[in-house]
């Protein structure tokens, strides 16, 4: 494999991973606030469809993205309303929306299937694009891809370096304690569920206006479910979630190379990888066996290992908060 081929593989990986970065980080934000938005798959499909339709109608990609974000937030608002206000099961509502969104997108998107439409224009960054290898990998893509890099960094900084980010994390851990410190738990949960939903919507538009350019039924290939798996794999940390997304991208692009070179194994088989990894990570982090295994090591050694391996879910994830 020569350098050229490697660059092609990596570039494909980045392109594949970009929608997943948006979706994964959106879900991370929502779950950090203590809400599981299981509707990701349906949300992404609906947003991909509406985003493309809006861009097609106005011949404006930006309008498409805005429409997609609104649809994403709208789906998230149903989850938020059902789960936070009506105190129903987040899982049930999210799951039904995942199925409903998928079918609704196919139904409403029927007239625009495979219709050519606008796409995000490429934008090479002057000077930087000429750097050997790195230039081709990172600086010869389009604004959406650049935006995804910015998103990863901004959300990471928001989580771990800012005051509202600290409050966001605290609401998902111990809503009662956050309330005691003056946070409006319900309002924050609504806010971050909607924000996460909007990012999922953008992930949908990233499909139909960029990565796959166009709309066809169920074209997003289960990315919503994959995003959910990657959030767990990434331990609810935006940086790790992004790494998970890129890892998946590399796997996919390697698979397509392998497919053309070696044998007839379709790339779908490799789509399983995130789920296998998710289960492994869950086994690693949930059971007590890891503690037993490491119990003999001195605390100084054990603690960093455990901290690196075990990124626990937000303690209040999926739980209903009742203020007395």
């Amino acid at each position: 494999m020569d350098l050229n081929q490697l660059v092609v593989i990596l570039a494909t990986a980045i392109a594949t991973a970009t929608p997943l970065v948006f979706a994964g980080i959106g879900e991370t934000i929502t779950e950090r606030a203590g809400v599981i938005n299981l509707s990701a798959d349906g949300t992404i499909l609906m947003a991909a469809m509406t985003g493309f339709a809006a861009a097609l109608a106005t011949n404006n990609v930006l309008v498409g993205f805005i429409a997609a974000a609104i649809v994403g937030a709208a789906f998230a608002s149903i989850v938020a309303f059902g789960a936070i206000t009506l105190k129903q099961s987040q899982v049930a509502i999210g799951f039904v929306l995942a199925l409903l969104g998928a079918d609704l997108s196919s139904f409403l998107g029927n007239p625009i299937v495979l219709v050519p439409g606008p796409t995000v224009p490429a934008w090479n960054i002057p000077l930087l694009q000429d750097i050997p290898v790195l230039g081709r990998l990172f600086f010869q893509s389009d604004p959406l891809v650049y935006a995804s890099y910015v998103l990863i960094i901004v959300v990471w900084i928001f989580f771990y370096r800012t005051r509202p980010g600290l409050l966001l994390r605290s609401v998902g851990e111990q809503p009662a304690a956050a309330f005691a410190r003056g946070s409006n738990v319900v309002r924050l949960r609504y806010l971050y569920t909607l924000l996460g939903g909007a990012l999922m919507g953008i992930a949908g538009a990233a499909f139909s206006l960029d990565f796959k350019a166009g709309w066809s039924n169920r074209s997003t290939a289960g990315y919503g479910w994959i995003a959910l798996a990657i959030v767990i794999f990434g331990g609810w940390n935006p940086l790790r979630v992004a790494i998970g997304a890129y890892f998946f991208g590399i796997l996919q692009s390697l698979a397509s190379v392998a497919q053309s070179n070696i044998q007839n194994v379709p790339t779908q088989v490799f789509s399983v990888a995130p789920f296998v990894l998710m289960i492994l990570v869950l086994v690693l982090t949930s059971g007590e066996w890891l503690d037993n295994l490491l119990a003999r090591l001195p605390v100084g050694v054990r603690r960093p290992i455990l901290r690196a391996l075990r990124q626990p879910a937000p303690a209040a994830l999926g739980k209903i908060f009742e203020q007395d």
Binding site: L38, I78, F81, G82, T85, L86, K87, Q88, S89, Q90, V91, A92, I93, F95, V96, L97, L99, L100, A102, D103, L104, S106, F107, L108, G109, N110, P175, A176, N217, G222, W225, L228, A229, I232, Q263, N264, V265, P266, Q268, V269, F270, S271, V272, F275, V276, M278, I279, L282, V283, S286, G287, G318, K319, I320, F321, E322
Partner: protein, 358 residues
């Protein structure tokens, strides 16, 4: 603050008299929403309804297809009654169908020609059940001993089963010469389950589904097992203190649900597709989840609701031809009904609480 998020919530309220107004409202809102959606797609709702009806019941062939969809749907819904009753969201049912189908295909491939055809078919069906049991047990072990949420364990295993099926179809079990999404080489007609005439309906599959349904109703109403499952599902801690062996019961519910879903998968192979295809489950597992959420785990209602959903699925198949409309309308209708019912339940509970109830 209380943690009642992990208990599955039935869509229909427990106390029908109070919930009735809200359920009626849910139905009305669903109709409104669906009318708007259909109008948006540029069609008249009346034409759509009459086409759905024609599509489901217009010809004997189509009626037969409704019943061939009904059988696996009833099987999966019945299985899900056990896990929901035990308080589990078994989202892994899709994968359990696929695992069953894979196991059936394996047995059919290995034993065809070696044994008399009816024996091979019977062995295949049993293998399907066992395949589903293995997949259900896997989710159960991850949940109970690995302390992993059954939701994520189940979802993950769905995709693993799906990947396994695709790998087999394109790898070791590929058709001679060409490997494609259309599946493995069809089995010899002697290994097909008997059909009614030239239609899709296999009476054996229907009978099996009916037996399982009746069995489920009896187990839930009349046996110690059903009662204990209910107890564990509603309050695991109190059940434990009362002396109910929770772990064993939870594991059994995973096994039973897996077994019935696997049975459905096996019957899809021998009764309908006669080969392994990537979409062997036809999303019936997820549809069954919707059925069970809508009927609030009351097995008596499985038959009518599953029949209604099957008719929708089949009826919508001809929408693309006649009205140039996507067949996913059936899914939109099903999803809308369940979503509205869930929200209505929330409103009804809230109103009850406001009115000074417990």
């Amino acid at each position: 603050m209380k943690d009642n998020s992990t208990t599955p919530s039935p869509a229909l309220a427990l106390r029908p008299a109070r919930g009735l107004t809200y359920q009626a409202g849910a139905l009305l809102l669903s109709f409104l929403f669906l009318t708007v959606i259909i109008l948006l797609a540029g069609e008249s709702p009346f034409r759509v309804v009459s086409n759905l009806w024609d599509g489901a019941f217009g010809t004997p062939d189509q009626v037969a297809r409704v019943f061939s969809t009904l059988a696996p749907l009833v099987l999966c819904s019945s299985g899900m009654i056990y896990t929901f009753t035990a308080g589990l969201y078994n989202l892994g049912v899709e994968g359990q169908i696929v695992a069953g189908a894979i196991a059936t295909t394996l047995v059919l491939r290995e034993f065809q020609g070696l044994l008399p055809a009816p024996a091979v078919v019977a062995a295949g069906i049993i293998a399907g059940m066992l395949g589903g049991v293995v997949w259900g047990l896997l989710a159960g072990v991850l949940n109970i001993f690995g302390k992993i949420s059954e939701i994520f364990a189940g979802l993950g295993l769905n995709f693993v089963a799906q990947g396994l099926a695709i790998y087999l179809i394109f790898g070791p079990w590929k058709r001679p010469g060409i490997a494609s999404m259309s599946g493995t080489e069809p089995f010899d007609e002697s290994l097909w389950l008997g059909h009614i005439g030239q239609t899709d309906a296999a009476p054996v599959a229907l009978v099996i589904a009916l037996i399982v349904l009746v069995l489920t109703i009896i187990v839930m109403r009349n046996t110690h097992f059903g009662l204990r499952l209910k107890a564990v599902g509603q309050n695991p801690r109190a059940s434990f203190i009362l002396g109910v062996p929770a772990t064993r019961l939870l594991l059994s519910s995973f096994i039973i649900c897996g077994g019935f879903a696997g049975l459905a998968g096996g019957l899809q192979v021998v009764g309908l597709f006669h080969r392994l295809i990537p979409s062997i489950s036809s999303n019936l597992g997820f549809l069954a989840l919707l059925v069970v959420m809508l009927i609030s785990f009351n097995a008596l209602w499985i038959a009518p609701i599953a029949f209604f959903f099957s008719a929708l699925n089949v009826g919508s198949l001809q929408l693309p031809m006649v009205l140039r409309m996507e067949s996913s309308l059936s899914g939109v209708i099903q999803g809308t009904l369940v979503l509205m019912a869930l929200l209505a339940r929330g409103f009804s509970e809230r109103a009850h609480k406001r009115a000074g109830g417990q």
